[in-house]
Every structure is written in C-alpha cells, then in structure tokens.
C-alpha cells in the first residue's frame, strides 16, 4: 500500500491532533499539519502533499480563501483538496462545490471513518 502524505490545515488543535492520530494509526499515512491558511499554503508548496484536508471556518484567511490561493499557486494548483466543514447545509455545499475542491467532509466526523472518507473523496484506488 502506498504511503500517502496528507496536509491538514485547521486552526483547532483538537481536530488536528485527532485527525493526525487516525490518519496515521488507521491508514498508516504521513500527516503534516498547519494551524492557519497562510502556514498551510507555504507548507503545501514546500512539501507537495498528496492531498490537503482544509477546514472551512478559520480566523484570518479562511478555507475558501486558502483554497483559492492554492488553486492560483503554480506549485499547489494540482494538489487535491478536501474541505472540512461544520455546516452541512445544502446551500453551503453548493457554494463550496463551486470552489474546486475534490470533496467535502463534515465535522464532527467519526475518527475511524476519516481515512476512508478522505480516500473516497480524493478517489485513491490501489
């Protein structure tokens, strides 16, 4: 099984820690974390992860803003991004779908499900 590298951008330490644990323990992936959009963009360009899991609601540069910049950056435009949002309303989904993310996962999530949901959203097949 390929070892994937996933970058997680979320300002919430709890979510970062729990996602890191499960992505590492359940899927055996390598996990990078960033606590803000700016930090995440820098890390994405430098580390070229296989996928980015991006929180929608963050102070400062929020998820949609971060995504727009990732898509505009020559080094980051090809990295699949999955959004992580607390709001699962349909209207929100429509808006977020238009931003060019590969998928949308909702918080709270079942930690054990996270790797499978992320893989399904990105379309990773072995």
């Amino acid at each position: 099984m390929t070892v994937r590298r996933v970058l997680l951008i979320d300002d919430d330490d709890d979510i970062r820690e729990i996602a890191e644990i499960t992505l590492t323990a359940v899927a055996g992936w390598e996990v990078l974390t960033a606590a803000s959009g700016e930090e995440g963009i820098e890390l994405a360009a430098a580390e070229q992860p296989d996928a980015i899991l991006l929180d929608v609601m963050m102070p400062g540069l929020d998820g949609p803003g971060t995504l727009t910049r990732l898509r505009a950056g020559p080094d980051t435009c090809g990295i699949p991004v999955v959004l992580l949002t607390a709001k699962a309303q349909t209207s929100d989904r429509h808006r977020l779908n238009g931003l060019g993310a590969q998928g949308l996962l909702t918080k709270p999530f079942d930690p054990l499900q996270l790797p499978a949901q992320l893989a399904a959203a990105v379309g990773w097949e072995e």
Partner: protein
C-alpha cells in the same frame, strides 16, 4: 478500491482507545474553553455582552461542537451547536441568555461526569453503507449519524473475512460484487437486514436478482438519504421481535399454557379468554387485536361458528383468525375456510409452527394496516383510523364511565403559507406541527390528520382541561419556532383549536364533532392562535399574549388608552420607550400582542425603527401595528405604511375613533 484494509475489531478498539486517551489529555483544555462560553452567558444575562466577546464565544462554541463530536461526545456536541446558534442570533429576546447559561451548565455536567468513556459506540447500531458514489454514501452516513447510528461508508465491497458485522447495511447495486455481498449478509446468523439501491436503468431483472440475493428492502437508487434511512429503520425493525397482541379463546389450561409458552417468548402479549361470551368485550377493549386464535374444544360453540360470528362483524372483518383443530383434514380446512378463518393449526401444537404463523399474520396485517391507516404526508393516523378509534372510545366511555375528548386543530392562515412559500414549505410546516402535537400526547392517544390543514386528537380517560393544557403547550412551543421559506425568508405559524368532551359536551359522536368544531370556530373568531374548550366561556387570552400593546411615553395619553381598552374587556400592556419595546416584542420568549399602538416619537428607538425591527423579526406576521403619527404629513404616512404598518392615526386623535381603528385591526 479505497486502498484501505478494513480494520479488525481489535484494531478498531485500539484506535478508539487512542482517541479516548487523547480526549483525556484534551479534556482540561476543553473545559477551559467552556469557561469562555460561561463568561459570555453571564455577560448576556447581565445585558453586558459586547460584540467582541460575543464573536469570541460564538467561535469557541463552534470549535467545541466540532471537537466534542469528533471525540464521540455527541450529546455535548449538539448542545455546543445549539449554543453557537444562540450566540449567532444574540441579542434575541429575554430568554436567550438564560438558555445559553443552562446549555453551558449541561455541557459541563456531561463532561465532568464523563467517566464511562465514549458515548458513541454503545447501544448505537452499526450501519454499513456501500455506495458507488462516495458523495451519496457520505450523505446517507450523515443522516444516519444524526439519528444516532454509527456508520461506515465505503465505495467498495469488502472481501469476506473478519471485520465487524453491521446490524444493517445499505448496498448500492452499481458496485461490483454487490449481489454477492447481499447474499453474504443474508447468510449471517442472525441475518443482517439490507436495503438495496437499484437504479431505474437496471430494470426489473436486477431488482429480482437483489431480492433473490436476500435484500430486505429494495429502493430506487435515486431515493433521498432520508427515504433510505426510513427503509433502514424499517429493516432494523423487521429483524427485531414483533410487537403484537394476540387474543386467544381457549378453555383448557393446558392449551392456554402451551399457547402462552409459544408466543410470549417471541415478544407477543397473549390475552386468554376461557368463555366465548367474553370475546366481544375483549376485542373491543383491546386497542388492536392483531390475531385471534380459537381453540377447538369450546363447550357450547364450535370454533368455526365463533369464527363466523366474529368475521361477520365489520369491525373485525380484517382480523387474522386461526383455528386450533384436533386434526387437519380436508373437511376441517374447508369448514375453516368457509367460516372465514385465515388458517388452521393442528393440535397437539407445534410451537414453532404456531409462532411462525402468528408472527407472519401480525407482520402482514400490521404493515397493511399501517398503510391503510396512515396519512402519508404527516405520518399521523388518517381520518379513517380516527373514525374507527372514536367509535371504540365511545363504546369504552359508555361502559367504563370515563371521559373521552376530541380536539380539532386548524393551522391559522395556512393558505397564505402555501401561497407565499410554496407547497413544499407548507408540507414541511404541517409535518412539524404534527410532530409537535404527537410528542405532547400519550401513546394511547390518537393524533390524526383530519384533512387539509386540519388535525384531530382523540384521547380516552383524559378530561378536557388536560387535553387543552397539552395542546396549549404545543401551541406555545410552536410560537417559538421559526420556519424558513425557499429563499431563506423566516416566518412563524400558529394554530387554533377546539376541544370537546364526551359525554359532557355531546350525546354521540356526531354531536361531539359538532361541539369541537364550534369551539374551533370560536377560537378562530376571537383572534386565532388559541385553544378554546367547548361549553366554556370564550377562551381567555393566552398568557403572554395581549390584545393591545401600547408603546407610548406620554403617561396621560397611555392612561386614557388603557381605560378605554379596559371598557372593551381587552387585555393590554404598556411600554414607554423604543429600546424596551424592541427587546420585549422581538426574539424568542417575546411578549406578543395582536395590535400594537406605536407612537412615532419615542425615547430610545423611534417608532419607525421599532416598526422595522418588528418587521425584520417577522412579528408583523401576527401583529398589526397602528402608528400614532405626530404630523399628518404625507411622507410620514407613506413611510409608515410602506414599512408594514397596518394603519396610522394622526395625533391629536379622538379616543373613540382610535378605539374603532383598534377593533377594526383586531377583527381583520
């Protein structure tokens, strides 16, 4: 295909333990975060909550909702979400700060008492969703999680082998290997119920194949997640012990014990009658007899004769009846069939056969009955069921000397909801009101859709005041709810109700309907949004609802208005400044008035600002504002009316003229 090997139970337990350990290290920080919320709640109660603090608290509530849920603290997560919503709409009415404080306290209790570990795993059935479309799969999982199920989604059919077996599964037939998966789940012991999704393009052949592979339910692949979850619930229910009531006419105690021994372990209740003459009474008193068993060796009456007698009564025409016969011969089965029996069971009894037959009867008749007696839109009983139950209640009331009540409930100005927001929204409103009423009544009461926007509630053994109180509570709750139109418009809904009691207000069913209907019309005529009891004096105003709110800073004028309203027997309240008027008349927990007399010149916020706030909070849906304008200039008048006021009266005015305008507004 996701490249993930399904976790074994052992691995899953290990990861969960890891999550749990993380939670323990995080708990202190989470409780600290809760302090931020508690401080905000205190500030809000003291009316000291400023915008930066509110935003900060809102953000913390949002984060708490996310991380608590992820750590498996679903209940605490839901509460945090509620706190977030409250903070988003703050300041909104007097009760919001105290509600917020209560929520924070509840979360703290949940977290401090949290010694048993995760509440996400125990007692929550596990659902597997195998769907070719990950988006659709995730959507189903979300709805399932919101209903308290644990879920696993994958776009894959796992190989047979170890891995936890779900309680129920949704399988998309577009997945390769789906039929094999269905077969495997059906062959588990106990069998795992499955909901198979078959695209229309697959046609009948594929449906048949799914059915042969053991799918419990087959739905079109285009079904919504909600529809699929209804089927999942039903499939779960079907794998559970059946809940039914069997009436058995048996005269020897040996057979009685045998029948009980066969049926009670299956979850059925058995009511044994040894004298056939008591049968009619027993059938009437039971809410629903699901199956009737008749023994062969009754003195005085042959089983087939008794069967014929029961069957010829239209009330029991559909009741499954089985005869216990000493021997199954052609003559016996023919006699049974001619008497209208649905089956015969040979004695000595074969426990397995009797149980299987009885349970089969019950499942079939329950699902048929549910279809025939349920209103499809609201899930409530339909009128046919209501009529049948009322007949039964009247017979019971006559015999037992207990009261029964009938309430008729009509949504206020429902046509306007349909016209403005469309029928889909209207249907949603009906469903919500139905659920609200259903929650307020006991299991043995009948809440039904009478037709259109009218609902009805029948109770037995509950006196009228108790029924009125429950409906009034439901109405109070409804008033606090907001509905969303298709374009995000917010609106409110109320209903009117009339309640009558038998035999107090009526001599038979027809006159009971009339009495309830007359009370309903009185509730409508006296201003809607209230519950009226038959025979009682016109319903008093609901607490917290005034006929008139006077918003006027001039004491002398306010006093004059109060006296003339008193003379008319109208209830009223006075507010002397604009800020206070906004606080008291808007938001959840607000005071309500049917007519507001609003001075345009007020300290605090002026009349136009108050009017705007009432309009923004959808208060004008139910309240008519008469603006008291100081100048009779056209601009003021046009301004006032264009912002949603019902009428305007220029100052100085004559009190009798104003009173006429008030009465006009109340009657409109």
């Amino acid at each position: 295909m996701t490249g993930l090997i399904p976790l074994s139970d052992e691995d899953e337990a290990q990861v969960r333990a890891l999550v749990e350990a993380t939670w323990q290290t995080r708990k202190g920080a989470v409780l600290d975060r809760l302090d931020t919320l508690a401080q905000a709640a205190r500030a809000a109660v003291d009316e000291q909550l400023d915008e930066p603090q509110r935003r900060h608290a809102e953000r913390e509530a949002h984060r708490l909702a996310g991380s608590l849920g992820t750590f498996g603290r679903q209940r605490a997560s839901q509460l945090a979400r509620e706190a977030e919503t409250l903070l988003t709409t703050m300041p909104a009415g007097a009760s919001a700060p105290s509600r917020l404080a209560a929520i924070v306290a509840d979360i703290r209790v949940l977290l401090v008492d949290d010694v048993t570990g995760s509440d996400a795993t125990d007692g929550h059935p596990l659902l597997h969703v195998r769907h070719a479309d990950p988006w659709a799969g995730t959507r189903i999982a979300e709805v399932a999680m919101s209903r308290g199920m644990r879920t696993r989604v994958s776009a894959d059919t796992p190989e047979a082998g170890p891995g936890s077996i779900p309680r129920v599964a949704v399988v998309d037939l577009d997945l390769p290997g789906a039929l094999e998966l269905l077969r495997r789940l059906a062959s588990e012991d106990p069998a795992v119920p499955t909901v198979a999704l078959v695209g229309v393009h697959h046609g009948l052949r594929r449906r048949l194949a799914a059915s042969e592979a053991g799918a419990t339910t087959i739905l079109p692949a285009e079904s919504t997640a909600e529809q699929i979850l209804v089927a999942v619930d039903a499939a779960l229910g079907r794998s559970e012990p059946v809940d039914g009531h069997v009436v058995a006419v048996l005269d020897t105690s040996v057979v009685q014990d045998e029948v009980r021994g066969a049926l009670e372990p299956a979850g059925l209740t058995v009511e044994v009658i040894s004298d056939a003459r008591e049968l009619e009474q027993a059938l009437e008193a039971t809410k629903v007899a699901d199956v009737l068993l008749i023994g062969s060796d009754l003195p005085e009456l042959a089983a087939s004769d008794l069967c014929r007698a029961v069957r010829s009564d239209p009330r029991w025409a559909a009741l499954p009846i089985a005869l216990l016969v000493p021997e199954v011969t052609h003559a016996v089965t023919r006699a049974a069939a001619l008497a209208g029996a649905d089956g015969v069971v040979a004695q000595p009894l074969d426990v397995i056969e009797l149980r299987a037959r009885t349970v089969g009867f019950i499942r079939r008749s329950q699902s048929l009955r549910a279809l025939a007696e349920t209103d499809r839109l609201t899930g409530l009983a339909n009128r046919r069921k209501l009529d049948a139950e009322l007949d039964r209640f009247v017979a019971l009331a006559d015999r037992l000397g207990q009261p029964l009540t009938l309430a008729l409930i009509d949504l206020d100005r429902f046509k306007r909801v349909n016209d403005r927001y469309g029928h889909i929204t209207g249907d949603l409103v009906l469903r919500r009101v139905a659920a609200l009423l259903r929650d307020r009544f006991r299991g043995e009461d009948l809440v039904a859709r009478w037709g259109g926007e009218e609902l009805a509630i029948a109770t037995f053994g509950m006196p009228r005041p108790a029924s009125v109180r429950r409906i009034t509570e439901a109405l109070d709750e409804l008033r606090d709810q907001r509905f969303d139109g298709p374009e995000g418009q917010s609106f409110k809904v109320t209903f009117s109700a009339g309640v009558a009691e038998y035999p107090e207000d009526a001599t038979d069913l027809a006159s009971l309907y009339q009495a309830a209907d007359a009370a309903l019309y009185r509730a409508k005529d006296t201003g809607r949004d209230r519950v009226a009891a038959a025979g009682a004096a016109p319903a008093n105003a609901t607490p917290g609802l005034f006929d008139v709110a006077i918003i006027e800073d001039d004491d002398i004028l306010a006093d004059l208005l109060r006296r003339s309203l008193d003379e008319q027997g109208l209830t009223h309240t006075t507010i002397t400044d604009g800020h206070r008027a906004i606080r008291r008349l808007t938001g959840p927990g607000r005071q309500r008035a049917r007519v507001v007399l609003l001075d345009i010149d007020l300290p605090g916020s002026d009349g136009l600002e108050v009017l705007d706030r009432l309009a923004a909070d959808a208060v004008l849906e139910e309240t008519r504002v008469i603006m008291l304008t100081a100048r009779a200039g056209d601009t003021d008048v046009i301004d006032t009316l264009s912002r949603g006021a019902f009428d305007h009266v220029p100052k100085p005015f004559s009190v009798p003229v104003l009173l006429q305008r008030v009465l006009g507004a109340l009657a409109a």
